[in-house]
Amino acid sequence: MLRLLGVSLRLDDRALLDEVSLQVRAGELVVVEGQRASGKSSLARVAAVLRRPDDGEVWIGERDVTTLQDASMPFVRRNIGFFSADLPLLPRLSTLENVMLAAGARGFEPAQARELALRALGRVGVVGAATRLPGGLSAAERRLVALARAVAGAPPLLVLDDPSAELAARDAGAVLSAILGVVEVGGAALCTSPDGSFAEAVVRAGGRRVRLEGGRVLAGGGPIGIVGARRPGAREVDVRVEARR
């Protein structure tokens, strides 16, 4: 589903990612664990096609997206649920409307998006806040709503940058449960986290742990270029890139 091959990313002279190779198959959950400034967020942005790497290939489905034109990128991104603390909730729109918008961008009609948004909010345990405005939510609730936005509609690829930060253990458990909900229906999920206990929980739930340090994968990158055995019940999801008319 997602394959990064020799991906490098530099900022001025500093290497944010240094020939990172990593594979996440459909129906698989991978957690990238690393300390602060180890390149986790950069890796997440490259994996979510929000940033082009300086070198290397980013395969999503059967396509190397680094070869696509900028105009085609949005059509790839529509298949990716992305979470980052940087992405705000829109003020003056209810929590539910915020989550619905993401589902709408993924092609669901409003009624369907509403149902998916409610389900996603329920999965992360904030369905009670559906009608409230983001300004009236706690910081943790806002993060959970943003996570619900990423998982709503079970996108084929889920990329979450440090989803458990600032969350209580119970909430982090709800987040993991929501991620597994996407993985169970055949989605591929890549999480980054500096939190060892969250990474442990992911491994206990059947996920794989990858260690990242100084922009390099130390261990657990997966069988790059080799089509491994899929998890039972997992389905291959085709990510289509529509030509711009």
């Binding site: 929000l50 082009r52 790839v76 991104r77 529509r78 980052s84 992405l87 709408g104 961008a105």
Partner: protein
């Protein structure tokens, strides 16, 4: 995103950026008003405005004597004349009043009127009209049945206006225009800054850059349409209420408002073009 979603986003953007929309509409209205004001100032004659000319139409002998019927005829004429373009005021002067007026005008020499009867003069209509139409009006009145004679008293020049009146008007219009444009730029800058924050979100959802800013562009354009419309209506009302020379022609006003709307569209498009470096690359 489907049309239903675009509509929802438009409503959502309207809720989030309502204050900016209002500021944009007001700015466009001020720009339209200033443009209309500039046009009016540009049309105003350089010298002092001439006063109204006076046309006196003497009714045929016997009109007054015919009693209520003649009075009704004079009233009817007055109503017709009042509706004519360029006519500012019409007054019915009876034979008796006319004689009284003549006495007053003669002053010390009024003795020459000693012993004359009240029917010396015919009843008349005194019409104050714009100088440009007074001549044509006099000709038309002479042809009218029931009108015996017509006098045209050319307008005297109105007292010279203070020399800086035009300059003050121009300065006011320029100031309003500048303030309107500044408000426009400021409101668009606020909208643009907010969009830049939201852009990363829309791009992460997989929206194209154009689709990301489209509702905001529509909002800005609608603010332009509403603002320009309100400005045009305001300009028309103000010209009618305050300027004796009359309003801006409707066609000119509509064209001006349309020009401001086009400007709204163009300015919004340029202002809301988020550079490639913003958000995702």
């Amino acid at each position: 995103m489907t049309r239903a979603w675009l509509l929802r986003r438009l409503v959502g953007d309207g809720r989030r950026h309502g204050a900016v929309w209002l500021a944009l509409a007001v700015a466009f209205a001020v720009v339209t008003l200033a443009a209309a004001g500039a046009r009016l100032v540009g049309r105003a004659p350089a010298g002092p405005a001439p006063a109204a000319a006076r046309v006196i139409a003497y009714l045929d002998e016997g009109q007054e004597g015919a009693g209520a019927g003649a009075g009704a005829r004079a009233e009817e004429l007055r109503r017709v004349l009042e509706r004519m373009p360029g006519v500012e005021a019409v007054r019915v002067v009876s034979a008796r009043d006319g004689l009284e007026l003549l006495r007053r005008e003669l002053g010390a020499r009024a003795g020459v009127l000693e012993g004359v009867g009240p029917d010396l003069l015919s009843p008349s209509l005194e019409i104050a009209a714009r100088p440009a139409v007074a001549g044509a009006l006099a000709i038309r009145l002479r042809r009218l049945a029931g009108v015996g004679a017509v006098d045209l008293v050319e307008a005297a020049e109105a007292p010279a206006a203070p020399a800086d009146d035009g300059r003050a008007a121009r300065l006011g219009v320029a100031l309003a225009g500048t303030l309107g444009l500044l408000a426009l730029v400021a409101a668009l800058a606020v909208l643009r800054a907010r969009l830049r924050v939201e852009l990363a979100l829309w791009l992460s959802f997989g929206l194209t850059r154009a689709a990301s800013v489209r509702p905001a562009l529509w909002l800005a354009t609608s603010a332009g349409v509403v603002g320009a419309g309100a400005g045009a209506l305001g300009a028309s009302w103000a010209a009618n209420a305050w300027l004796p020379a009359g309003a801006l022609p409707a066609r000119e006003l509509a064209l001006g408002a349309a020009a401001v709307v086009m400007l709204a569209l163009a300015v919004s498009r340029v202002a809301l073009r988020i550079p490639e470096a913003a958000g995702a690359r």
